[in-house]
Subunit: 146 residues, 2 copies
């Protein structure tokens, strides 16, 4: 299964409710165990990004905050908040298909890891998806035009 | 009212349930509108730091994720996750009484701000409280000794 495509499917659910199209899926072994999309505006909650939502709902479900061995696939390079939460949860790997245009969280986290400033190392992989990048740009263009 | 002292009162509630003693209060004008402490272990949720809990509960209550004008007082320099969430919420100022011993989130955020990489600027103030620092060190020492 193409897990990034599944994250993109989630991101399209966000567009339908006029949210920034970010979607994510959490994977263990070769199976999706949780999925979520951004609902910040709908929930009036600045923390309700796809990644935080997945962590909160899934950890509650399994009654464990430690997600060692899990992989997270997300459409957009996680913001500082989400990257921080991912480190806390001990997720093993993050795969994303669109870079943050303003700063690289992956780079900030990597530097902190190399200096032993954080106690969990995550593997970050960027797998470009032009289709999603176009979708994201179009979303913001439409917003600006309105 | 000494708002940092009130944040310390919250942090002591965390110790009572065997959580890392971090407490926070949210202030508007000269009044505490929300308070919270760390419940990560109790809730089996890696995101349940005092700061995230305050944002989630208070924004839900007022049905608005924008907290411009609000100040957050917290015992410990916010982690990356919490600092990211604070930026998203547009809180105006963060005051803390104990520095993160491993890295300075305030410095990372300030650098991003100066390079215009984030679209909200927060004022950070460190007001040392030796009493709280001793309390935190003792908490970890007791943990290690057990």
């Amino acid at each position: 299964m193409n897990f990034l495509k599944e994250a993109i499917v989630e991101s399209k659910k966000a567009i339908k409710i006029n949210e920034v199209p970010v979607g994510a899926v959490l994977v263990l072994g070769n199976k999706i165990v949780a999925r979520a999309h951004n609902t910040k505006e709908s929930d009036n909650d600045p923390t309700q990004h796809a990644e935080i939502k997945i962590l909160q709902s899934y950890c509650k479900k399994i009654k464990n905050w430690r997600l060692n061995g899990y992989w997270l696939f997300t459409t957009l390079e996680p913001c500082l908040m989400c990257a921080g939460a991912i480190i806390h949860s001990r997720i093993s790997k993050v795969v994303y298909c669109c870079k943050n245009s303003k700063y690289s969280t992956a780079k900030i986290i990597q530097e902190l890891s190399e200096n032993n400033n954080i106690n969990h190392t995550i593997s970050w992989e960027f797998k470009e998806d032009i289709g999603f990048q176009t979708l994201l740009l179009n979303f913001f263009k439409t917003k600006r035009d309105k």
